[in-house]
Symmetry: C2
Subunit: 175 residues, 2 copies
């Protein structure tokens, strides 16, 4: 399982939550932007014994729609358009929860790692566009052989890796 050539724009599946969004008398926002939560998502929350709240769905939705990584504050800004009374603390807690469920991942950039993106499904690695922050994933993992060999050579038991590519997407190449 080393060469399944394939790359996908992250978040291409079809869950978009558009609904009532009430919690803590939230009103005034684009409150019709969370609905029909797909059963798989509910199941994932159930599995982690976490509640499926509008805030969490909103965060997920924001990240999904954007198809790029977003900073904590960008997520917050986005969520507030839907649920205006959402506090920053909730964003922190939510992101942490979603990370636990493996629904989102933290993105590591040159200048820090407080950005988040929708998690890729399966073992994938991201290519991040340095122009527009778009994230595309690829599945082929070139590290398995080398990990095995390095384990032998260095005595390390290699357990995981972190790989990310950076570049410019087609659109951003001619600005």
């Amino acid at each position: 399982m080393n060469s399944k050539r394939n790359s996908t724009i992250r978040g291409s599946s079809d869950f978009k939550y558009i609904s009532k969004a009430s919690r803590h008398r939230q009103e005034g926002g684009d409150a019709n932007a969370i609905s029909h939560v797909p059963k798989e998502i509910r199941a994932i929350f159930r599995g982690g014994r976490l509640k499926c709240t509008p805030q969490r769905l909103a965060v997920l939705g924001i990240l999904q729609k954007s198809m790029k990584h977003l900073s904590i504050n960008e997520v917050h800004r986005g969520v507030k358009k839907i649920l205006p009374r959402t506090g920053l603390a909730t964003i922190y807690r939510t992101l942490e929860a979603l990370e636990e469920l493996c629904l989102v991942v933290r993105v590591h950039l040159e200048d820090g790692c407080q950005s988040y993106a929708l998690a890729p499904s399966g073992h994938q690695h991201p290519i991040v566009c340095m122009g527009c922050n778009r994230v595309v994933d690829f599945e082929e993992c070139p590290l398995e052989d080398i990990s095995r060999r390095l384990s032998r050579e260095t005595g390390f038991k290699i357990q995981q890796h972190f790989l990310q590519l950076f570049g410019k997407c087609r659109e951003c190449q001619v600005p």
Copy 2:
């Protein structure tokens, strides 16, 4: 230049600065721990038009001696043993300067990326021990072929990558 099988403990070269360490009437510390600064180091500072100060050398020295990545505070603690009056702000500024000179690199971990380690020489990637934080580098870069291919497939012009392996070193495997 793709398979030059070789892995080195980071910082194995032979510069250790042991000296007077004066600046801002620093006294009381282990002031004999910075000396004979190798000319290559001075040249690198010169090249970047940055001054070669005891604080900067101390930071470099700390990272070199430790052979593992250190948090900002660990670096600070270490530097203060030699130059007791060193402020935290200086550590921030110093690390930034050294990063600019490519003498140190920021290390990305699960829970953040505010750790620093001596920069590897040449194109290398680190293997980080999750037990003791030791860092070992390897030179073989498995990404060149795949980068080229992904460029073709995705339309991205891939310019750089970030790769880090995690595991347990021999000592930490049986704790």
